[in-house]
């Protein structure tokens, strides 16, 4: 960075430090890469600078999200810090740069119109200018409150900015269409300008705070969650497909790879001493998912249904069941319907799983599952139970569950309650865990990812199940 302003290298290091503190893994080699990249990129262009930095240090969409948040904050703070140090009157100069005439002539409507146009054109520098004008205009009316959030709200309302989709405006031509993203860009300018003025007023920087959980996980919408579940399940698919088949008769029925055997026989002068085998193709797993949809898990059942929904996307051989007092197969619902809400609706209305009381009866569910389905269970089958193991005082029938688990290759239990609550009240989790290959708490997408990781690493052990591991034939 021969011609970079002094302190730039330190700025970037400080920036990377800040990213690390937010959980982005950045190696030293990646920082070196970013320096090399910035040497050849015209870093005076802020877009190029940012992209070059991003491509070398942020290596997943999630990291990139955090990168964007921190980047804006960090370099905004850095410039403001410099401004405070070197030029206390810089703010005044900036104000004067706005032409007098522009300031006087602009009525509120004209301003709003100009802003709308700048937003539509995506002109960042015009937006910046207009954001400053807008703040000043509102300030003149004596409405500046000094609190950034409050001022934002006022100006937004005063300008009447709203995405075109909300007004349903079919009269709008293409040129005037404003979507949410474009408006968000203007509002970012507005917020930054307000912060800048606040900093000028107070003569110091507000303390840097770590990003809150909320900030990080934005945007939090139902569809986003669904997408996250789908992603975790897609990972699970690969791992379930490739793991856990080896225990039984691993060496049986392998086919010799003639080509590789011949090749290795060259070392022994053409005598095939070591047989080489063809790698085993992963078998397609058959998955049986049993999902509790009773009222005690109602908060989690939407999540569970979305897990089911995602599973159905990934696996061909998947049979799903829902249960409360009785069990009912719902595989066909997922095959017929595509839309998640329609599926949820159909399952709750026509599942036919509640008999009389609406309380879960695990004993009966296992018995029904065993008689109806377990003939199909085999060494390829994986049984996943999604439920809270609260029997409402009814017999848990763990011996029946044991027979189900014995027939299946692997059995996993995902419990929507935190592990702390297991076995309290009418929860009989401990009766079932000995027969499971793993029991996990699962009420967020992260837990689902953890489940996938644990299954993948082959260490299927939870604190609950370690002591009483079910050992016959299940090796990991």
């Amino acid at each position: 960075m021969a011609d970079a302003p002094s302190g730039m290298a330190e700025q970037i290091l400080a920036f990377c430090e800040e990213l690390r503190s937010e959980g982005v893994a950045i190696g030293t080699s990646e920082i070196q890469d970013s320096f090399r990249a910035l040497e050849i990129v015209p870093w005076t262009s802020s877009v190029d600078f940012k992209e070059a930095l991003a491509t070398t240090v942020a290596k997943s969409p999630k990291d990139r999200e955090i990168f964007d948040l921190i980047f804006d904050r960090h370099f905004f703070r850095a410039t403001e810090h410099a401004a405070l140090e070197y030029a206390p009157e810089a703010g005044e100069g900036r104000k004067a740069a706005l032409s007098e005439q522009a300031r006087d002539d602009l009525s509120m409507e004209a301003l709003a119109e100009a802003i709308r146009q700048a937003i539509a054109e995506g002109d960042e520098s015009a937006m910046n200018e207009l954001a400053r004008l807008a703040i000043e205009a509102f300030g003149r009316q004596g409405e500046g409150s000094g609190v950034v959030g409050v001022d934002m709200q006022r100006i937004r309302r005063g300008l009447g900015l709203s995405p075109s989709g909300d007004t349903g405006g079919d009269a709008e031509s293409d040129g005037e269409r404003l979507d949410r993203d474009q408006i968000a860009r203007f509002e970012r300018q507005l917020r930054r300008e307000l912060q800048r003025q606040q900093i000028q007023r107070q003569g110091q920087l507000p303390p840097a705070r770590p990003l809150s959980e909320l900030n990080r996980s934005l945007p939090m919408r139902g569809a986003q969650d669904l997408a996250a579940v789908h992603k975790a399940v897609a990972q699970m698919k690969r791992r379930l497909a490739t793991l856990g088949h080896d225990p039984r008769g691993a060496k049986r029925g392998r086919t010799v790879d003639v080509r590789r055997t011949m090749r290795s026989s060259l070392e022994t002068g053409g005598v095939p001493l070591n047989l080489k085998y063809r790698p085993r193709r992963p078998r397609k797993p058959e998955i049986y998912v049993l999902c509790d949809v009773s009222t005690s898990v109602s908060s989690a059942s939407t999540f569970f249904l979305s897990v089911l929904h995602a599973l159905h996307d990934s696996f061909r051989k998947l049979r799903s069941f829902v249960f409360i007092e009785r069990i009912s197969e719902v595989t066909h619902v997922f095959e017929e319907e595509r839309d998640f809400s329609a599926i949820a609706e159909k399952i709750t209305s026509t599942g036919g799983v509640a008999d009389i009381s609406g309380y879960t009866d695990y004993g009966r569910v296992w018995t029904e599952f065993l008689t109806d389905v377990s003939a199909d269970l085999g060494p390829r089958s994986t049984v996943i139970v999604l439920g809270d193991a609260r029997t409402n005082g009814r017999p848990p029938a763990e011996d029946v569950f044991a027979r189900v688990a014995d027939r299946a290759n692997r059995t996993f239990w995902l419990n929507p309650e935190p592990e702390l609550y297991w076995n309290y009240g009418d929860s009989v989790m401990s009766a079932y865990t000995p027969f499971c290959d793993g029991a996990f708490e699962c009420w967020k997408t992260e837990h689902l990812e953890q489940f996938v990781d644990v299954v993948a690493s082959g260490k299927v052990e939870t604190s609950q199940s370690t002591a009483r591991k079910y050992t016959s034939g299940h090796r990991y």
């Binding site: 990646e30 990249a37 015209p42 991003a54 490739t242 090749r263 002068g269 992963p282 595509r338």
Partner: protein, 302 residues
């Protein structure tokens, strides 16, 4: 296509121009990263949803730089014998027999050095990319389909551009290939791999760019129809589909509309040509339910 394979671009804009000439419209960050990849000689990991032009980017880079494209398509169970190199054992056997009979039985057995030479090596894509005297563009497609062991094997290649063959030693690249790895994000790649790459997230292009892309590939389409087409495709992509329409499919659709002689997308044309962009039965139902009514409404008011 003025660039020779050896030349290095001066600025991101130059790369963008070259890609444009190769019929690929890159946005700013794509052009910048393609530029960085050539200047820094680092591999690029390209991620994004299916059908946004990840593979096409590699092809365009190959066209624009005049380099040969070497492609390795990854799949589950891909091993080094198919990706790196393999000994041509038939030829080796023949060689052993030939020399053995020529020397008669009393002489010493055939030495390792005689049959483990380049003559007996079958080059697979990665080896081919390294050993090629002219620089190439190496595309490792859908890296997420392989297992982690294969990823680990790639590390030596990606950081040092060399391959170690136990019987022969190291083979280093004589020229610097441009390496692109694509991933559909179906699993998390290892940190070690990511650390060696530049990262590029490709998403569906913004409206204006997609219109431009469609008009580039289907020049006969008029601007208004292209705009309308992109609007509809964007609407369809917002639904939760098993397979959202890709850019290539949008282009196919544009060509179809030209052949059909359509000048607007109304309910009838949409239903008739729907199968160009939707390839799944359940998706068809969903689109028919959610999009078709909206089409009718918009058509009625205009």
């Amino acid at each position: 296509m003025a660039a020779t394979p050896q030349s290095v671009p001066e600025s991101p804009a130059e790369v963008a121009d070259a890609l444009r000439q190769a019929a690929y419209l890159a946005d700013d960050s794509t052009a910048l990263i393609a530029f960085l990849a050539q200047r820094l000689g680092k591999p690029v990991l390209v991620e994004g949803p299916a059908g946004v032009g990840k593979t096409e980017l590699a092809k365009a880079l190959s066209r624009s730089t005049g380099r040969e494209l070497v492609r390795l398509q990854c799949y589950e169970g891909l091993d080094e014998a198919k990706a790196l190199y393999e000994w041509n054992y038939r030829k080796q056997l023949l060689q052993i027999q030939a020399t053995a009979s020529a020397r008669d039985e009393d002489s010493s057995p055939v030495g390792m050095g005689e049959i483990f030479t380049e003559d007996f090596l079958l080059e697979r894509p990665l080896m081919k990319a390294i050993a090629n005297p002219d620089p190439v563009v190496l595309l490792i497609d859908e890296i997420d389909k392989t297992d982690q062991e294969f990823e680990a094997m790639l590390l030596e290649l990606l950081s040092d551009f060399q391959i170690t063959i136990p019987e022969m030693g190291q083979i280093s690249a004589t020229t610097h290939p441009i390496v692109l790895l694509t991933s559909n994000n179906s699993r998390e790649l290892t940190e070690a791999l990511k650390r060696r790459c530049l990262y590029l997230w490709l998403d569906y292009p913004v409206r204006e760019r997609e219109i431009e892309i469609i008009r580039l590939h289907a020049p006969e389409i008029d601007e208004a129809l292209a705009g309308r087409l992109v609007d509809v495709v964007e609407m369809v992509r917002e639904l939760d589909l098993k397979k959202p329409p890709s850019i290539a499919e949008a282009i196919d659709w544009a060509r179809t509309l030209i052949l059909m002689g359509a000048d607007d997308i109304d309910e009838k044309t949409f239903r008739e040509s729907l199968s160009i962009i939707i390839k799944h039965r359940t998706d068809l139902d969903l689109v028919a339910e959610k999009i078709v009514p909206r089409l009718g409404g918009a058509n009625g008011s205009s």
